[in-house]
């Protein structure tokens, strides 16, 4: 029993890491532009598939193939795939900002909800046209042999996900709080107009926010693909749970978002251990519960509207 519990917690932490990356992505665009990418989940799927196609290309397989067969990509190929996934997703984030967000940001009516949603639908339908709806088994960069830690079997990909996430989080936190770029981002978040009067290029910062947020989504998809198979439909729930994690932690507090993502991952994993079909319901019930008591999340600042 204790072993099963420990196992659930470790895999929960790994998936929670992916949620935390997504949650952080939501937080970055929300604090700088007051908008969210409603197709963030599709971006996660896209990241997985772009990483996968890079692996196919290196192995000399056609991009549109749907199985690796016996081919095992090496470490160099995996690294290249990671760079490709994050780079191309960053560019897509740029495109999304220019096409879908900038025309509507700051205007009433939240038209950007629709446009970002539409962008994701387009991405998904392009993916469906190339690969079809079937999930693809993707080999992990650290092998698939189960290693034993404290008497518990752990997949190395889970440990890798956890480690990468933690490194990224700490790095991001340092950049936000210790560097000029981080200060500029926080200034734009606090008040874009004043920031631009101080000579900060707010447009560039906002583009940067979407690029970073989308690259994180790509990373999350790339890390998840070997754990849960790459599927064009995997993103929707990952995106939603990432957002739920952000809501639990507080959308305007990046550290809170990360904690929220991990909490949600572990919680989901534990519920899964108990009753699998109630997993989604329990997760969203938890979100509603948190929002009922703290509408801005556990670590979020309350926003006061001046009257």
């Amino acid at each position: 029993m204790a072993e099963a519990l420990l196992q659930a917690i470790i895999s929960g932490l790994a998936v929670g890491g992916a949620y935390a990356l997504v949650a952080l992505g939501f937080s970055i665009t929300f604090t700088t532009t007051k908008t969210l990418n409603f197709s963030h989940g599709e971006f996660v799927s896209a990241g997985a598939f772009i990483g996968m196609s890079a692996l196919f290309l290196v192995l000399g397989l056609p991009v549109s193939s749907t199985t690796f067969g016996d081919a095992l990509p090496g470490a160099g190929a995996q690294l290249l795939a990671l760079v490709a996934a994050m780079g191309i997703m960053g560019l897509l984030g740029w495109a999304l900002y220019v096409v879908g967000v900038r025309p509507f940001a700051g205007r009433p009516g939240m038209a950007w909800v629709m446009s970002t949603l539409g962008f994701g639908v387009i991405l998904q339908s392009v993916g469906l046209a190339i690969w079809g709806p079937k999930p693809v088994v993707v080999p992990g960069p650290v092998g698939d042999s189960v290693i034993r830690v404290l008497g518990v079997g752990v997949r190395p990909q889970e440990l890798l996900t956890l480690a990468v996430t933690v490194v990224i989080m700490i790095g991001f936190d340092r950049v936000m709080n210790r560097t000029m770029v981080g200060k500029a981002m926080r200034a734009v978040a606090a008040n874009g107009n004043v920031a631009s009067l101080m000579g900060i290029n707010t447009n560039a910062i906002m583009i940067g926010a979407f690029v970073v947020s989308s690259a994180l989504a790509g990373l999350s998809g790339f890390l998840l693909a070997p754990i849960a198979q790459a599927s064009l439909f995997m993103g929707l729930t990952v995106g939603l749970k990432g957002f739920s994690g952000a809501m639990i932690g507080g959308l305007n507090n990046p550290r809170g978002c990360v904690i929220g993502g991990f909490v949600l991952g572990v919680f989901e994993s534990l519920v899964n251990l108990w009753q699998a079909q109630w997993r989604e319901v329990a997760v969203f019930a938890l979100v509603i519960l948190v929002l009922a008591f703290r509408p801005t999340g556990l670590f979020g600042r309350t926003m006061v509207e001046k009257v």
Partner: protein
């Protein structure tokens, strides 16, 4: 008799459609028309939510499922009559609508959109994975169809029933949206704080909008399940939620015929592309991405631009109403503030402030910037909750009451930074002020009872009278946001007066006005005072304050430092010190 013209037109159109479909005789076309009816039902309700209340719901598929599975389970597990099951399905999906609306109490905007999206996904997962109850991809067979004199409906009859239901839905929703409720929903879309300040129960209005959308969507789901006599989890997808939203946005959110136009066009496209699902999918994404950019008002908005704005009908003969006597005469204490304190961390915009307002007087609240004047107004009107103290209005404690309830008690207000409903006409803004004083409820408005229509006419007349009072009657049909700043201030004043206040709170009414306008405002305030309305105004224009007010209260850093007649306050040394600073030696002595 123009009032009867529209329903007759709708009946004729529906009859013509029914006649035309009986000539079709092709099951494929009948099926398309039936799906148009189903989607129209979804879209019509969704328009109330998206177009009027301004709430984005991305989980309508969940409500569609609620209706569909309700009839499925009710007619297969019990021996319920199919008609009864249809009604039960509507009720059950309405309850689910309340369920999604609950989070809207706490969260807004993008958060709420995400919560509704999550609701849709949870339902999708539930019906797909909880196979013991919902049958998953296998689905539920043997759902009992609707019957007519013992026989199941034929394909034609299904279409006829669908058209009749759509016509009925259109008429009912039109009744609802053209009057009190439509205005209230539009106002909360524009500005929730202003909306509650005129007495609209914001949360309740939102729940109603969610329930209307849920009920129509649930009925649509039930119709599909009963017509197919089968439902499975493949019907309930995120794409359905997006499609329903797109019907409204593409046709034109917030317009009467938008959902109809959107439904007809998109259902035809949907049927034409049914063979290429990925093309279909791509097109929807493309539309979502660019439709709002190219045509923010949808297809209907595009055409409205070409034909120009429909001119407003001139006001018909006005019913006679009572002359302007706004509040009861007499004296006595209207409002008693005792020991009110407010702290934001270390900042204390109010420390143990006490004062009394007399009925029939014009009071002024003055003080340097940051003295806590606006915070005081916000505490009095229920927008901000004080940390301690007591506020008694008309001998009733009002701390802790919501803003709309305080408005109903008889306290009207204006805002420092204008909060008009900019897209609504001047007249609609003032009529919204009457919201809490109108007696027609939800169901009376829905079926347009004669009482509700009379109430609407009375309100319109009263609003016109108030606009006459502030000299804006000639601008009644302009959008409020298009007026010059000074006139917008007067509209806000008229809106506050429309709530029948006994006490009117004005937060810097002269801000941004030129000297001429300020003088006119002063005269207007005196006229309002003569109508029996007491006034408390926060103001920086000392000329205005000294010329019109009977009593002045001075705040500085959250502390009341003086009060009394204007002349007394003017020579009070503490007031002079607060405004101009003291000389060095005195400051040291103090």
């Amino acid at each position: 008799m123009s009032r009867a013209l529209h329903p007759i037109g709708v009946l004729v159109a529906a009859a013509a459609l029914i006649g035309a479909t009986s000539l079709l005789g092709n099951d494929y076309y009948l099926r398309i028309v039936f799906m148009m009816c189903v989607y129209y039902l979804c879209a019509a309700g969704m328009n109330v939510l998206v177009g009027y209340a301004g709430q984005k719901s991305l989980g309508q598929a969940g409500l569609f499922a609620a209706g569909a599975y309700a009839v499925a389970l009710l007619t297969t597990q019990t021996e319920m009559n199919p008609w009864l099951a249809l009604i039960a399905a509507a009720v059950i999906s309405g309850v689910c609508g309340v369920l999604i609306a609950l989070p809207s109490l706490r969260v807004k905007g993008p958060y709420l959109a995400m919560v509704t999206l999550a609701f849709g996904i949870v339902v999708e997962k539930l019906v797909g994975e909880w196979t013991e109850v919902f049958g998953g991809a296998q689905g539920i067979y043997g759902i009992k169809p609707l019957t007519w004199s013992g026989q199941p409906l034929s394909s034609e009859q299904w279409v006829w029933f669908g058209i009749a239901l759509c016509a009925l839905t259109h008429l009912l929703l039109r009744n609802l949206l053209q009057g009190r409720f439509g205005r209230a929903l539009l106002s909360l879309q524009a500005d929730e704080i202003a909306s509650s300040s005129v007495g609209v129960r914001v949360y309740r209005a939102k729940v109603i909008a969610f329930v209307v959308a849920a009920v129509t969507c649930g009925i649509a789901g039930a119709l599909v399940a009963q017509q197919n006599q089968y439902i499975n989890s493949d019907f309930i997808t995120f794409n359905l939620s997006i499609f329903i939203l797109l019907l409204v946005l593409f046709g034109g959110a917030g317009s009467q015929y938008g959902p109809l136009v959107g439904t007809v066009i998109l259902t035809i496209i949907d049927a034409a592309l049914a063979r290429w699902p990925s093309a279909q999918h791509f097109l929807y994404g493309f539309m979502l991405l660019f439709a709002l950019y190219v045509m923010p008002g949808g297809v209907v908005g595009l055409f409205a631009k070409w034909f120009g704005r429909r001119s407003e009908a001139p006001a018909a003969a006005r019913p006679t109403i009572a002359p302007m006597r706004m509040a009861p005469a007499g004296g006595g204490e209207l409002l008693v503030v005792q020991g009110v304190t407010k702290t934001y961390g270390g900042v204390k915009p109010a420390q143990d402030v006490s004062f009394r307002l007399q009925r029939g007087h014009i009071h002024a609240l003055i003080g340097p910037n940051g003295a806590g004047k606006s915070t005081m107004i916000n505490m009095l009107t229920g927008v901000v909750q004080p940390s301690a103290g007591s506020i008694r209005f008309l001998d009733r404690e009002i701390i802790g009451r919501p803003a709309h309830a305080i408005c109903c008690l008889g306290m009207g207000r204006t805002f420092q930074n204008l909060r008009l409903f900019a897209d609504l006409s001047v007249l609609d803004n003032v009529m919204l002020g009457r919201h809490s004083r109108m007696a027609n409820g939800f169901f009376a408005s829905l079926v347009a009872l004669p009482g509700a229509q009379r109430e609407e006419a009375l309100t319109r007349a009263r609003a016109m009278q108030l606009l006459d009072f502030v000299d804006l009657a000639h601008l009644a049909h302009q959008p409020a946001g298009s007026l010059p700043y000074g006139l917008q201030r007067r509209v806000e004043l008229a809106r506050a007066l429309a709530t029948d206040p006994q006490l009117l709170l004005l937060d810097e009414p002269a801000a941004g006005l030129n000297p001429q306008e300020t003088a006119e405002l002063g005269q207007l305030l005196v006229r309002i005072g003569k109508c029996g309305v007491s006034i408390l105004m926060v103001e920086h224009h000392m000329d205005l304050v000294m010329s019109v007010s009977d009593h002045v209260i001075v705040l500085d850093y959250g502390i009341k430092i003086a009060e009394g007649r204007p002349a007394e306050v003017q020579c009070n040394p503490r007031v002079i010190e607060a405004y101009l600073g003291a000389d060095e030696p005195e400051a040291v002595a103090a």
